[in-house]
Amino acid sequence: MQEIRIHGRGGQGVVTLGELLAKSAIKMGKEAQTLPFFGVERRGAAVKAAVRIDDTPIKVRSQSYKPDYLVLLHENLLEIALAGGKADHAEIIANAGQPLPVEDKQWIVSATDIAIKNGQVVGGEPFVNVPVLGAICRVLGIPFEVLEETLGEQWTGAKLTPNIATAREAYDTVREVEGGPQHG
């Protein structure tokens, strides 16, 4: 089983991200499940969601403690995400401009910049979930065509185009980096 735990804040679209990732995995012939955790259900509060992908139906009905992938919708969620636990071999996929100050294998993508560049901002909030989804799919080896099909079922017309654009750019630009310097 592959377990991915996504960290974001209430209103950032963590639940939608998880749903679209799971749907993409299902298109690849996999079983999938999402389990969001809303904390105190307040906009802006830290929220998380687990996505589980496997070859057989998923029986887990509990939270994620040892995910294989840790996803951050913003680099400032790193501490919260690490406190939630991860597998020793876990890889981090983060919306970040610079390497994260940890030694783990990590992938970064400038999802905020990509969202702003493509006009995906509402109420001052850049929609980073779709570009981060693009980055995750690239790391997990999900072909972009599969993701494009998933996005096409979620949005149509003028709403679909920028989502495909941000997902595509993140898919193409996410890069593996060496861990950054540790904070003293």
């Binding site: 998880g18 749903e19 799971a22 749907k23 299902i26 079983e31 999938a32 499940q33 999402t34 389990l35 969001p36 955790f37 809303f38 259900e41 998923i58 029986k59 887990v60 009905r61 509990s62 939270q63 403690y65």
Partner: protein
């Protein structure tokens, strides 16, 4: 049949839409809210032909669907936690009045302190209202159980509550399949009540009685609640023949072969328990899982029939009987197995209150502790 990837609440709302329900009244409450919202949206979009009454409270929701049922409508509501507690009075009314209501209860802790997460205290507190209570552990099981619930309720004229855990199932997205309209019609024909209130025919409902009338009503209700158990299994078998889908009878039994330790639980914990059983089996501990699907009527004989002489029953309650360290399932199990007290050892604990997370490793730890206890 269409394949859906959606939450437990979505599975619930879609089943209500597909069951050709006539009337829905609901009051939103976490973690049930999406059920109330989605059904309202289906009706507003014109893809569900029903009347929806947005009420000011759960007491009114239950009262409204009870009244609508009495005039012959197929009815539904959904709630959770405090909402269910607020309905308590009407739950007795509906069961005593033999009204085939169907309700989803998204299991959540009861206040105080305030808590939004999975716990069965809400449901077990309604054990003695005369309602049939089912527990589901997957989104497919929710969809299928809603259809089954209408069939059972309308045949035996007793209301049915379908329970599933808040967030762990209600907000967890999983793949599930819906059923084609023609198959649903075959399984669940339009509701044809044997009687109903109608101005043309006159009559009254819910008259004052004395014990001469009251006692036979109570006797018939307890007899029919018991009979409903067999009916649930028959309807589940019919559903299996039609769809190939089977979630278990009274229990969903996991790895019973040569088992000495039977781990009894209900709801989402029962599904995770299968992973705990696998962990214990890897250590050579002959464990099995019993996920209870029918809480009311509690299947006493069927539980006993699953347990060979010399085996042990380990009970995991997601509720608490105050003054003890365990819950209602332990009490029911002890009562069911009293005559076999010399041949079956029983231990029980209360876990998972207020959404306390229950990964398989923790369930296996608790099982090992209880195994030490029953070995004493």
């Amino acid at each position: 049949m269409s394949k859906v990837f959606g939450s437990g609440n979505t599975a619930c709302a879609m089943a209500v839409k597909d069951a050709d329900v006539d009337f829905v009244a609901a009051y939103p409450i976490t973690p049930q809210t999406a059920v109330a919202e989605k059904i309202a949206a289906y009706i507003a979009q014109g893809i569900m032909d029903a009347n929806y009454l947005p009420v000011e409270s759960e007491h009114s929701a239950a009262s409204a669907i009870a009244a609508a049922s009495a005039v012959g409508a197929r009815v539904f509501t959904a709630t959770a936690s405090q909402g269910l507690l607020y309905m308590h009075e009407i739950l007795h009314y509906a069961a005593g009045g033999r009204l085939p209501l169907v309700m989803a209860n998204v299991n959540r802790a009861v206040n105080m302190p305030w808590c939004l997460y999975a716990d069965h205290q809400d449901a077990v507190s309604q054990r003695d209202t005369g309602w049939i209570q089912l527990f589901a552990a997957s989104n497919q099981e929710i969809y299928d159980s809603i259809l089954l619930a209408f069939k059972v309720a309308e045949e035996v004229q007793i209301p049915v509550m379908i329970n599933y855990d808040g967030f762990l199932v209600s907000h967890s997205m999983m793949p599930f399949e819906t059923l084609d309209e023609n198959k649903i019609k075959e399984y669940l024909p339009p509701y044809d009540p044997s009687w109903r209130l109608h101005p043309q025919w006159g009559g009254t409902f819910g008259n004052v009685t004395f014990s001469e009338q009251y006692v036979p009503y109570r006797e018939s209700l307890t007899r029919d609640v018991k009979r409903a158990g067999e009916l649930i299994i028959r309807c589940a078998r019919e559903f299996e023949e039609l769809t190939g889908r089977w979630h278990g009878g009274y229990f969903d039994v996991y790895r019973p072969e040569d088992a000495s330790f039977f781990l009894l639980s209900m709801g989402s914990m029962g599904k995770e328990m299968e992973l705990a059983v696998d962990l214990l089996r890897q250590e050579g501990i002959p464990a099995a899982g019993l996920r209870l699907r029918v809480f009311c009527p509690f299947p006493k004989e069927e539980l006993s029939a699953l347990l060979p002489t010399g085996t042990n029953l380990l009970v995991f309650d997601r509720n608490l009987v105050y003054g003890s360290a365990a819950g209602v399932l332990l009490q029911e199990s002890r009562a069911a197995l009293y005559d076999r007290r010399d041949e079956i050892r029983i231990a029980g604990i209360s876990v998972g209150l207020g959404g306390e997370d229950l990964p398989a490793s923790l369930l296996a730890d608790k099982a090992r502790e209880m195994i030490q206890e029953v070995k004493k």
